[in-house]
Amino acid sequence: MASYIARRLGLAVLVMLTISFLSFLMLKMSGDLAISMAGEGSGADYVEFLRKTYGWDKPLITQYWDWLVKALQGDIGTSFYYGSPVMTLIVERMPATLALGAMAIVMALCTAIPLGMAAGRYPGRLIDKVALLVALLGVSTPIFWLSFLLILVLGLQFAVLPISGGGSFRHLIMPAMALAFYSMPAIIRISRAGMIEVMRSDYIRTARAKGLRPHRIYLGHALRNTLVPVVAVASVQFGFLLGGSVVVENIFAIHGIGYLTWEAINQNDYPVVQAALLAVSAAYVVLTLLADIVNMMIDPRIRLD
């Protein structure tokens, strides 16, 4: 177990290094920070001055190395665009993203689990087809399109929810719905499969034979056993939501990490992009690892090695 976790963590570090290197390279190739910082109409000598001051005239690999060495010492740098420490920006923006992600995952679980279980209880029947349709729509609907549809219907037509901003709980409902819809398919599928499996099991047959009422069978026995793998999937989905919030946070103007990342990409503000990507990929790596461990604890038959 300990060696497994150590190996997984080692792998996670490699994954994060690769992510940070690739993102650094892509960002450097996509635009020139010195030119955007100098401002329209600024002379080339000033652009050159900025490059020298910040060390952007050095080879890319050297620049990356300098960044990495500092990052490993805990200094993830200062935003070129905002002028404030990246850590301050991340800490300031993280709560909104976490709140949005948490709300989305709760919404997704509350709708997807009952739907998936009902589908698994009655495979091939109408409810199963509805669940499959929802899952299909969830994977195939572009998230920005759904977001604008929500704005149109709930924000304008019925005017029951604020359209943008992040001042209150109510502001998070629409973006959370959009994100929830996006993560529902996986949860529907896993709870449907779990339900089918559970319903075939001996203890359900025993429960039926004992003459238990159907709701005791489903809620008391089947639900709890179906939920086990769902927990693992949900934690991975939560990681996805943190990454997927870039689009949603921009549309709904939520003051979170996703919005920050988008701004930083536009400005070629690489210390911020690097930090935001690392934060999201670290969350994802940790969640995946936790999911594996939870899985193993739930079902000792799963051999991690």
């Binding site: 190739m29 996509s30 635009g31 020139d32 920070l33 010195a34 030119i35 955007s36 910082m37 100098a38 401002g39 329209e40 109409g41 600024s42 002379g43 080339a44 000033y46 001055f49 900025l50 001051t53 665009y81 905002y82 002028g83 404030s84 909104a96 709760v106 919404m107 679980l109 509350c110 709708t111 689990i113 009952p114 604008f148 704005i151 924000g155 304008l156 005017a159 029951v160 929810l161 604020p162 359209i163 943008s164 901003g165 992040g166 001042g167 709980f169 109510r170 409902i173 809620l219 639900l223 939920l227 921009n250 549309i251 709904f252 103007a253 003051h255 919005y259 988008w262 701004e263 070629n268």
Partner: protein
């Protein structure tokens, strides 16, 4: 343990409880104007807030020595009541007495010297190097008089100075640059009174001085709200969540015009669209663009009227000269290249390219405009291969001599003088694609001449030559759409510098 299903039901009920009608946050009732912008202000210190939003911040919370009328472009007194040129390089300013910063400190010559010297020092990396880089030093003559000494003759000195805010020396030094950015203090018509998340809140400065080009605001509170997605901005305008937005694309503006709750106004900016052509053969020694006839063919191949009318839209006008029509020194009386495909084809044939050629074209702004241009070029046999990148990447490619054609635009950094655009694109600058000694000489001489008439004549000479040689393909002006609630009147400027202090409720 609470049953998970029950918990789900509870969550849904809780969600239902919050589905109560939304109260309007923007509007007349609480004397609060909410204006939406695509970009957040990176800093509340104007010296570290670039771009057009930084310009607005500078006008709202700060004052400069001089003020430029956003419609007539006339220069008027602001923190300076009068100014004069002492010699070719030295400007003297009489400062207004009795002006107070938002924290109560009086504004003096020391603050002016401090602020302008801050802008002049490259180490400080202020919003735009051009505006402060020309300053050699600032001399305090007495508490209400300063002299600004240029490194060389600087005909655009006043146009630069109107962008440089005067900040309080004592306070800024006490709290530090970072501290100042968080709690900034200026002399402007609005105080920055707070903000969180996407909002910056501006409150009327009730002690704002009279007699300058700016005035005490009519509306008490102005909220600067960042909403990055323009579709969301449009939804908020319709829903009444915001009162004002600009840079609304032409298709969206068309739909908004039919809405009863908003007014749509289209107004000019300094920004113009054009093609830069590698006439000097920097990208390749045998570039077809070295041939004058090919450049003329390109100029004839583009239907500027159609581009301006259908793709840019609104008040957009075709332009023939390499400058913004309102700029000092800009002349439209140059060689004209009307839309004439047959003539363009004939010129191509004369140049030996009857079968056309392949070429790389770079762009970053509007995809539809880029596609249209490629279509026009294709009609005369030029097969353009589009490279779509970010602005800074395209500019770097051009400076590295890799771009035969760039679909470019330029806003002259808000400066109403061709001295902001011509030296950037000609006169042996890194973006000069023609390298014509005659053009270079005229522009350089104009840049070091103080006499306005002489400058005009020199720039006219340069612009005529640029048109004769078709070094550029000027295309159109780029106006923007302002959308505002029917409840409010926000005067629309001709230079994007919206004066919110003049806004009034109807």
């Amino acid at each position: 343990m609470v049953n998970p299903l029950m918990r789900g039901v509870l969550a849904i009920v809780a969600a239902g409880l919050v589905l109560l009608p939304v109260t309007a946050l923007a509007g007349k009732d609480d004397d609060t104007l909410v204006a939406a912008f695509q970009a957040k202000l990176p800093s509340l210190d104007r010296y570290h807030a670039p771009g057009r939003e930084g310009f607005l911040l500078g006008l709202l919370a700060y004052d400069a020595l001089v003020y430029r009328d956003p419609n007539t472009f006339e220069l008027k007194p602001l923190l300076a009541t009068a100014w004069r040129q002492v010699d070719e390089k030295t400007w003297e300013f009489d400062l207004r007495s009795g002006v107070k910063f938002h924290n109560g400190d009086p504004m003096t010559a020391e603050d002016v010297a401090y602020s302008l010297s801050y802008a002049a020092d490259p180490v400080n990396k202020v919003f735009n190097r051009m505006t402060g880089g020309w300053i050699e030093r600032v001399d305090v003559v007495d508490p209400l008089k300063v002299r600004v000494v240029g490194k060389q003759v600087t005909p655009l000195a006043l146009e630069y100075l109107l962008q440089l805010p005067i900040e309080p020396k004592a306070y800024r030094e006490a709290v530090g640059i970072q501290g100042f950015a968080e709690k900034p203090v200026g002399t402007g018509p609005y105080k920055i009174s707070g903000g969180s998340g996407n909002d910056v809140i501006f409150t009327r400065n009730d002690d704002y001085f009279e007699g300058g080009g700016k005035s005490k605001p009519a509306i008490k509170t102005l909220v600067y709200r960042a909403i990055p997605d323009v579709n969301t901005q449009v939804a908020e305008l319709i829903g009444g969540g915001i009162d004002w937005a600009y840079y609304i694309p032409v298709d969206q503006a068309g739909k908004l015009k039919m809405m009863p709750m908003v007014d749509v106004i289209n107004a000019e900016t300094f920004r113009i669209g054009f093609l830069t052509l590698d006439a000097a053969g920097l990208s390749s020694p045998d570039s077809p663009l070295k041939d004058l006839r090919v450049r003329q063919a390109i100029a004839h191949a583009i239907d500027r009227d159609a581009l301006a009318k259908t793709l840019v839209g609104g008040a957009s006008k075709p332009i023939a000269s390499a400058c913004t029509p309102s700029q000092f020194g800009c002349i439209a009386d140059v060689t004209q290249y009307g839309y004439d495909v047959e003539k363009a084809k004939a010129l191509m044939a004369q140049a030996g390219f009857a079968d056309g050629f392949d070429i790389d074209i770079y762009g970053y702004r509007s995809r539809p405009v880029a596609e249209a241009i490629i279509g026009y070029l294709n009609a005369i046999g030029i097969r353009a291969n589009l490279h779509w990148m970010q602005y800074s990447a395209v500019i770097q490619q051009r400076r590295d001599h890799k771009t035969p054609i760039v679909i470019d635009d330029f806003g002259s950094a808000g400066i109403n003088d061709v001295g902001a655009i011509l030296p950037f694109f000609f006169a042996e600058s890194p973006d000069d694609q023609s390298r014509d000694p005659a053009v270079t000489a005229a522009i350089r001489e104009a840049g070091s001449t103080a006499d306005p008439e002489q400058r005009k004549a020199l720039y006219a000479k340069a612009l005529k030559r640029i048109a004769d040689e078709a070094y550029w393909t000027p295309m159109f002006s780029m106006p923007v759409n302002y959308v505002m609630s029917k409840d409010v009147t926000v005067p629309v400027p001709a230079d994007e510098n919206v004066e919110f202090w003049r806004a009034t409720w109807k």
